[in-house]
């Protein structure tokens, strides 16, 4: 039997500017999540380099990658990935054990509007609330880049818009670079940069000089 080589991403090259809102757009299976995972240090490329702040993260060891994830990037996932055995406060406070420059957990929770749920467990919250906890946790690490994989994918559209607004406003107020992976074209209208991916290749990289606000977008 012969094995065929499968390339999730091939010949991909782009540059992200600090403080920008970038959307990676593409259909399912296009390779956009793989791209995000590479940026986040969850996966390593077989060839090529990924340079963040002048540091090639594709050559880092396991421990160095763990430190990179702890200090440089924050993740927001489609299914939240909160620790079910920790309360809202504990989920956010947890990152203080790995991030030297972390932000105050209570303040973050307050900013996502969940002060009254400090001591609730994730199972006691709605999907939107859980995603807000996830955003608070990601920002509490005080990372340079916020990586979001379909952050509204598991939410109804009304809640999704609300979460997205919150995500963008907080990222902006804390000056974070934010990368969102989605197949939702509407979200792309709000981005500073749109990277279109298909079949593992970048089809286009488009910069928007006047991105729309969430209220202007038709959802």
């Amino acid at each position: 039997m012969c094995k065929s080589e499968l390339k999730a991403l091939d010949n991909v090259s782009f540059t992200l500017d600090e403080g920008k809102f970038v959307v990676i757009l593409g259909p399912s299976g296009a390779g956009k999540s793989t791209l995000l995972n590479l940026l986040g240090g969850l996966d390593s490329p077989s060839t090529g380099t990924i340079t963040v702040n002048g540091r090639d993260i594709s050559k880092l060891t396991d421990n160095e990658l763990a430190d990179y994830r702890a200090e440089t990037v924050g993740f927001v996932f489609q299914f939240y990935n909160l620790i079910p055995t920790l309360t809202v406060y504990e989920n956010v406070e947890l990152v203080s054990e790995i991030s030297k420059d972390h932000l105050d957990a209570k303040k973050m929770i307050e900013e996502v509007g969940l002060s009254e749920h400090l001591h609730n467990f994730p199972s006691e919250l709605s999907g939107g609330e859980q995603q807000r906890v996830s955003i608070a946790r990601a920002l509490a690490k005080n990372p340079q880049i916020l990586l979001c994989d379909e952050p509204t994918g598991a939410l109804d559209s009304e809640t999704g818009v609300m979460v997205l607004k919150l995500l963008l406003s907080m990222a902006k107020s804390y000056g974070k670079t934010i990368v969102i992976v989605t197949h939702n074209q509407s979200i792309a209208k709000m981005a500073d940069m749109i990277i279109r991916v298909k079949n593992g290749k970048i089809r286009s990289v488009e910069e928007q000089e006047t991105p729309m606000s969430a209220d202007e977008v038709e959802w």
Partner: protein, 445 residues
């Protein structure tokens, strides 16, 4: 925070964790059980006899032994100590079918007893030192009054001590009793002084002048009691239907057999057809030449070798069982650990994604096992000891066996359990190193 997570995870997956605790508890219990049995046998066959200076030899004489004879025996080379000793069965007043072997020894450094509760032995004391098992079986406590009856003569006193005696390790009243039954028969010791003043008239010339049983070092000689010569017994020679009647002139006790012993003269008088099959000698076995008329030779060393071989086989079996238990424990704990890990892989992958190093998560998994082990040990130690005590009390409570567990047993079982648990924890933690974060996060809740 991770510690809090650890305990809450344990609570959320309690069935798995309880299974692991039960496994550890069983492991500890089984290990303790094996060791207890092991150590108990060793203790009862060496320490207990040793502690009580159990007699190495018993000498018997139908006329009893005088003080001079005792002294001559004590002067013999190799004899460290000897005592004259009697044991007679007495009824307990106002009780049905309850009796006690009343024991008296002139020298309590030979075939003595261990006081488990109450006063130490006093050779001029008035009290009774009663078998602790008989006391327990008959609800008798320290300070209770007992009245014993010997051929119409009563001897009363308070129970001043509860004891275990090597002489009565298997405590039976006579040949008709197959198994010890402490509810009906036990033993009691009194001081020689007390014996002289109370039973002297009944057992005259047998104790003050001629005690019939001499313990040589750990040896005991049981004296025949001339005053009991009025009793008669009926007996049949083995394989014969003919019945003979003879007077009882004394009792003896042997660890080898239960039998009636008589002189060749008496056997001839009674017309018992017998032939000599064994000869006892003090010669070294190597000095006895082989002969067609000798079918076999046996000496004390051979008996001891046989026993040692038996203990050796027991030891080997216990070692095999312990190894099997450890392997079983590793397999079961590993599988439970992996099951638990797989169920929580998404959670652990999340920790890695957040930036926790493999080492931190590994520590979490190992410490989780350590906590389970501590819980298992806390429950397992008393449960194992309790279960074994109950088993031995139920199955072998009639024997004078004292359960023993050395500190080494506790140390080894705890250390072994910790090592197994640590090993399993490390194996699971190693698996975590290789977890594919991306794949693990795809698992939906």
């Amino acid at each position: 925070m991770l510690v809090r997570k650890l305990f809450r995870t344990a609570w959320n997956y309690k069935s798995q964790f309880i299974s692991m605790i039960i496994m550890i508890t069983l492991g500890i219990g089984i290990f303790l059980g094996f060791n207890m049995e092991w150590y108990t046998i060793e203790y009862d066959t060496s320490r207990f006899f040793s502690d009580t200076n159990y007699a190495d030899y018993r000498l018997y004489s139908k006329d009893g032994f005088t003080s001079d004879e005792l002294h001559k025996i004590m002067e013999t080379d190799g004899v460290k100590a000897a005592t004259r000793y009697i044991s007679v069965n007495l009824d307990i007043k106002d009780s049905k079918n309850k009796s006690l072997a009343l024991d008296v020894s002139e020298n309590y450094t030979v075939s003595t007893f261990i006081v488990t509760d109450g006063e130490e032995y006093n050779e001029k004391g008035d009290g009774f030192w009663l078998s602790d098992k008989f006391a327990a079986a008959n609800d008798i406590s320290l300070g209770d009054e007992l009245t014993l009856v010997f051929q119409g003569t009563e001897i009363s006193g308070k129970v001043v001590g509860l004891i275990k005696a090597g002489e009565h390790m298997i405590c039976i009243a006579d040949n008709n009793q197959l198994m010890p039954d402490y509810s009906t028969f036990g033993y009691v010791y009194i001081s020689p002084e007390r014996f002289r003043t109370v039973l002297k008239e009944k057992v005259k010339n047998t104790y003050s002048e001629n005690i019939g049983k001499i313990n040589v070092f750990q040896k005991l000689i049981e004296k025949k009691l001339n005053d009991m010569s009025d009793d008669e017994i009926l007996d049949k020679a083995y394989g014969s239907s003919k019945t003979y009647t003879a007077k009882v002139i004394g009792y003896n006790r042997s660890i080898m057999t239960e039998s009636v012993t008589m002189t060749d003269t008496l056997a001839d008088e009674l017309g018992i057809d017998y032939h000599i099959t064994s000869v006892y000698t003090d010669k070294n076995i190597t000095e006895i030449p082989s002969s067609d008329i000798i079918s076999g030779k046996q000496d004390k060393a051979q008996l001891m070798d046989t026993f040692n071989s038996f203990v050796g086989i027991m030891d080997a079996m216990v070692v095999i069982l312990v190894i099997a238990a450890v392997i079983l424990g590793i397999v079961v704990l590993y599988n439970l650990g992996i099951m638990s890990y797989v169920e929580r892989s998404r959670e652990l992958a999340t920790l890695k994604v957040l930036g926790f190093r493999n080492k931190s998560i590994g520590r979490l998994l190992i410490s989780q096992n350590i906590w389970l082990t501590i819980t298992g040990i806390i429950i397992g130690l008393p449960a194992g000891v309790g279960a074994l005590e109950w088993m031995l009390a139920a199955l072998a409570g009639e024997y004078e066996m004292k359960l023993m567990l050395g500190p080494m047993t506790y140390c080894v079982s705890v250390l072994l359990t910790f090592c197994v648990s640590l090993l399993v924890g490390m194996m699971v933690a190693r698996k975590n190193k290789k977890i594919d974060m991306v794949e693990a996060l795809k698992i939906s809740e």
